[in-house]
Amino acid sequence: MDTNFLNVKNISKSYPIKDSNSFVTIYENVSFSIDKGEFICLIGHSGCGKSTILNNLAGLNLVSGGSISMQGQNVNKPSLDRGVIFQNHSILPWLSVLKNVTMAIACKFKTMSKADIESRAIHFLKMVNLDDHIHKKPSELSGGMKQRVGIARAFAIEPSLLLMDEPFGALDALTRGKLQDKLVEICDKTKQTTFMITHDIDEAILLSDKILLMSDGPEARVAETVIVDIPKPRNRASIVNHPAYYVIRNYLVDFLVNQSSLISQKLKTGSLSDKDLPLTVDPLQLKYNLENNIINP
């Protein structure tokens, strides 16, 4: 019996290649788990199937093999228990900011009165500092504001698991920083269980309890789990002073630059076996977890 909140077991995804009988495997043997209240980031190069994994978790896209279960329930279709913040915000452009949020709330809390729905929406829009813009159409908002509407919409339905697909990827650095701070603040307050995909290493360290690292695709794997042992609450300005910060950061950079392709080569040649993956790494002590029974790097 699994005690974890979310369990991902040996999932794989493959697509048929057009005009042939063979398949291309995006990733395989991917296993990990998420505990309640944990913030997990997934990092990997483009094309390793990060977004596909997120869509698998959301139930928007089904795995080819393996299983995903959340709170003992098999994940095979989208659910209001799993909120998604999309990369391109996906705010409905024909609805006002407020209506975008109330529509989502009305879907989740079917018996709630109109007035309650509206005040709940305003509460969550206030949380992302958009309460002055509730009657605007999305086209009147900046990119960062649109993404904030997406955040408000996702939190307003109180999902058990929040999924974020590079939520700040399309934003400029300043806006991204502000939104990261906002997200840290909200997550500290709500203890939201979150799974997030990002390209941004600093963002991952700032937000995560654990960072999952993927090797290069095709046939990508979740190769390592890096524990981010920096006490919370964190903030962008002071986290860089923590002794662990640069150790973790350098470790992640090294993984993305060297290890991710090396590991996928090793897997191909057979010098690394799936039963050894994922390694659990605590970069602060720079030693591999002994129960995984791996030699020092």
Binding site: A58, P78, F86, P93, C107, S139, I157
Partner: protein, 277 residues
Amino acid sequence: MTMTDTRKSILLSIGLLFLFVFIGELVTGDGSRHKKNLTEYETLMGLGEKQAHVPGPIEVAKLAVKELRHPFYDNGPNDKGIGTQLFFSILRVMAGYLLSVIIAVPLGFLIGMSPVFYKALQPYIQILKPISPLAWMPLALFVIKDSILSSVFVIFICSIWPMLINTAFGVMSVKSDFLNVGKTLEMNNVKMAFTIILPAALPTIFTGLRISMGISWLVIVAAEMLVGGTGIGYYVWNEWNNLDLASVVFSILMIGIVGMALDAMIAYISKYFDYQE
């Protein structure tokens, strides 16, 4: 002082109008023949009467003022005001057009939702679409046995294709991101159709509605020339038979003005359903 671009274009428009009127007056005559004195016999033979001629702008304008002063007069079946004729034409266009909306929009919606349906109906749509609506007229007259209803049918058959194709296209090209929003909110198919797909596709649907309205107005003139009785198409043809070219030119102008108004009407309504990303 500098002029705004709007002002410049208004001035240019007015300038062009004067130019057209001027050239129009230059190249057209008033239909009178040689000025020499006529013998009594020639006068009796009508040689002093004005000849049929292409009217100049001023002559048309005079007629327009006269006609528009009493647009709904009725002096029997062959002499009704321009307003009455236009009213009948608009009525037929509206009847055929609305019938088309009722059928094409829901059907296009279903086609857009189902790729199988879309592919299955493609050959029929592709074959039926290029048929000139007037080619249906004999069949319509025979089956419906009523000239007015037949012209309504012709409007229906010509306006259905742009609506159908645009609706299906609009529904098919709803961004998958929007659909995913609906899916993660656990919307059922009906809710998805009305809260996500329809509003997302409406601008494209309205493009189809606008094209259809344009085509309908083009076709009604030709249809009424064939079936006769009432309507602006019949009016034009009737005035041609009377060799009253000033009335012909006047009604051509009116056809243009009403067509523009119909298009503006759809464009105005569509503004309420438009959105910017």
